[in-house]
Structure formats: structure tokens, C-alpha cells
Symmetry: none
Subunit: 268 residues, 2 copies
Amino acid sequence: MSAPASIDEFRIRLAEVTDTLPKRLRQCAEFIAANTDRIAVSTVAELAVGADVPPSALMRFCQILGFSGFTEMQRLFREAYSPGWPDYGTRLKNLKENGAGSPAALLAEFVEAGRLSLEQLAKSADEAALSQAAAQLAGAETLHVIGLRRAYPVASYLTYVFEKMQVPAMLHDGVGKLDHRHALRKGDACVAITFAPYSDETLALAADAQARGLPVIGITDRLTSPLARLSATVLTVPEVDFGAFRSLSATLALSIALAVAVGTAREG
Amino acid sequence: MSAPASIDEFRIRLAEVTDTLPKRLRQCAEFIAANTDRIAVSTVAELAVGADVPPSALMRFCQILGFSGFTEMQRLFREAYSPGWPDYGTRLKNLKENGAGSPAALLAEFVEAGRLSLEQLAKSADEAALSQAAAQLAGAETLHVIGLRRAYPVASYLTYVFEKMQVPAMLHDGVGKLDHRHALRKGDACVAITFAPYSDETLALAADAQARGLPVIGITDRLTSPLARLSATVLTVPEVDFGAFRSLSATLALSIALAVAVGTAREG
DNA sequence: GACGCTATGGAATAAAAATTCCAAAACAGG
DNA sequence: CCTGTTTTGGAATTTTTATTCCATAGCGTC
């Protein structure tokens, strides 16, 4: 079997071979697949540490791929190497100027929007409100999560994370227009997520929860949102829109942080 | 004189020093200035040949710049090559050791993880595959989207965006274990999203679509994923995990870009 | 043209890296 | 539970690479 002559060939060979490999060699394959870009600038020993295998396993892995050894594999990547760091700002600008509307240009836009959102979130986050929200949720029994339309991905992920952390959580997803509002019980708490244009169903559930005396944590876009009036604690997320769509990066980051904080607090 | 601590500092030092150097050392300086990007992936001998000087001259040159030797200079460039990963690991460890667990600290971590993911996505995205995927989806009738567990938020948002752009799309969400595989019709296409540990249902639907001859667009974490074999086009996303959870920022950015590209292509 | 200084090339050495090999462990099949 | 096979880890070895050192060449000055 001969050595891959290009990085594409390398990738194909890697994909072909991975399934057939035993444990340690598969670790190599997976680490290499996830860190292909570091091959050019690393030593066998460094990569072995990263993959958590002995160096000899990595050598075997190179040979299975068809190379005579690590050196030959590395040569492939060193020759193809062209660093990203003349910087990605220019690259982004190029994209915008040239192929506007091309999928790659769109991707650059959404990446940029996401980065901005995250940056703003880091700057503007209300840490006190976040802690308070975490405390309220940690003290509750079942958590009810609602978020529809574009907030739905956030609500579903939040529920997923709660479940993974063994926090009892219920996603109010409106499937079949079934209304689970009577599942709201004393001692529970509610997380409601909605952005302009605010979803009536979400506001209705939040209002219901509030009426029953449950603490409502609102995740929304601004303090003047109708959700704010219904919430015990409001978390605002400065999401940057691109076109009609928001990246949700910041909203998700905030939500997961909240969920993990709650999960850890309840374990302790 | 101490070693430059960043590539900017390196450039400044190099510019300062070049004029004062004798012939051979100036050759080094000029060659290095013109081939800064090769430092990370070359040996002393190779660079010396390129600059047309003996290796010892290059060594002296490194020392004049303030480094202890070539190795130290090279390290600067090897590390700068992918600044994201090396210190992410340490940061995470620091967090665990220090005041970890506070909601604000968690938030900072997820913001950082998201930012890194987006950065890597911008660098590593396979633009050809993205265009190809967009073209395949634009040419299809109904789009079938599947993604379960932690990929579910992505799948649901993708479907939302498709709907908003008036692209007929169907979300296979597994509600009630109802299986909608027979909704896959000739002329349709399928978007499947799954990350390790890969969801059987997602793979099954992708396989089914492939068997019926529909183009499958796979969104997954690595090229060696089982989804790759079932897909006409594979898009990989280098998501940075924090603890057991991924930020999804990069995955979402990629997905929305894809959806918007498809939407615009179909309008035209 | 001789003297002192700096610059240079190359050979010698030290350090680090890659690669091989073998004994032990894990594993599958009978 | 034993037996033959595959997989594994690590130590030994080889190769490559970086680094040092010194003799010599060049060059300006007196």
C-alpha cells in the first residue's frame, strides 16, 4: 500500500481505515482527524501525548496509513502548510468583497455575527442576575422550559443539558397544541425564552407560572421586553442579527452556563 | 537582550537589526523576512540552503535576534500557528482548580469555547464542500432534516430557517417514535446531523435516504464519522467542548449559512 | 604590508527526535 | 481454561537536527 500523495487522499484513507482499527490505533486516528492542522508543527511525542497513546502506537498508525513513518507523513503536511495567520480579518474582507452571497461569504458573515454576539455577552453579562437565576433554579423541583420558534433550539438544548445533569426538566414544546400548563406545580420553576416578535404562548406560560407563584427566569433580548414584567429574574442577550437570522451563539452560551451552574449546585 | 515574545515583536526586532548586519547575516535576515511562514515547518539546514548561508550563520542570526537558538525561535512560530488550543487546555484546568463553578466563570468559559469554535470554523471550513452542499439542496424538492439529542437544536433551527425562506423542509424529530422515512421521495434531499456518540436513528435515516438515491448532506464532527460514509457531501465542524457540552456556535453558524445559501439559490 | 579585529565556514559534539524491536498483556476461539 | 493471535508499551537504537567551537579568511587601519 502506497502513501497518500495529497491531503485529500490522506483524509480518504483515514476515513476508510478508522473503523477497522483497534482501540489505541483508533485513538490515534481520531486525534489526528481532529488535529490535522497540528501535524506539520508537532513531534511524534507531542502528538502521542495529545492522543494519549505511546509514541510507538503513533508510528504504527502512520505506517498503517501507508507512510514509511511519521517523517514522511509530516512532510506531506509541511509542504502543504500555509499558515492562516496573515490573519483572518483580511480573509473575511476579501470574502465580503469578492464572492458576496456565495456560501463561503455567508458563512464568514455568520461566524462574525456569532463572534460579536459572544464578545458583547462577555462584556455586558449581568453576573448578579445570572447567579440569582442559578440559585432560584437550583432550589426548585422540576424545571419547566419554554421557547418557541427561533427560541426553540435554545429551549431544547437547555432541556437536554438539564437532563444530562440529572435535573428534572420538562420542555413545553407545543407539540399537538397540547398544553401542559397544569404540570406547573408548587416548588417548580420556569425558564422562558423569547425574542421580538415575542411568542404569545411563551408569554402565556410565563404569566401562568408567575400567577402560581413560581419563580420565572426570563431569557430575552432587552429589559423592556414583555417577558421582563413576568419574570423574577431577567437575563438579556445582545444577539447580533445577520439578515433576518440570529446566530444564537450568545443565547446558547448563556443558557448552557446557566444549566451547568444549576446542575453543579444541585449535586453539591 | 531578551527574546521576542510575539510575532509582532519579532518583526520589529528584525527590522531594527537588519541594517546593522554584515553580509551573511543580512542574507539570513532578508530570507527570513520573506519566508517568515516557513520557520515553523523547516529545519535549520533547509532555511540555510534557502538563504544560501551555512547553518552556523543562521544560528548566529537567531541569537542576534535574542533567542537562545533556532529551537526557541521556531517555538514562537509553532505556537502562534494555532493559538487557540494550547492555552485552552490550561485555561480549563486553571478554572477547575481556582474559583470554578461560579456561574460567571462558567459563562466566560462557554463564551470562550464558542469563540474558539467559530475561529476554527472560519479557518478550517471546506468551502468547496459547502458550495456543493448548497447546490445539492437547492436542486432538491423537499428537504428532510434529522438531528437528535444534542444535534436536535441545530436540526430544529435549520428547519426553522428553511421554513422562513419558503423552502419546504421536514424535521424528523422522532416524536412518538413515529417514523417518517417513507416521506423521503425521489427528488428530495436529506440533511443529517450527528456527533459522537452518533445517534443510530440519524444514521439509519441517512442510510435510508442514500439507499433511495437521495443526496445526503452530513454535518458531523470528523471525517471519520460513520455519517461520512452515508453522505454525498460531508461538512465537518470543529466544535470545542467544555466539559461534556458543546457550544454549538460553530455548528449553528455553518447550518444557517447553508440554509440561507440554499434559500437564496432557490429564489433566483 | 603588518596588525588587530570581525565575520565566516565547516567539522565536531550534543541533544532531540524518529524508528525499531521485543516481551508482556489482552483477546478470541476452541 | 488453555492456545494461538493480535495488540500494546516501553526501552534500545538509529537517524536527524541543533548547536558549539575553532581555524581561517576578509577587511580596515596604521
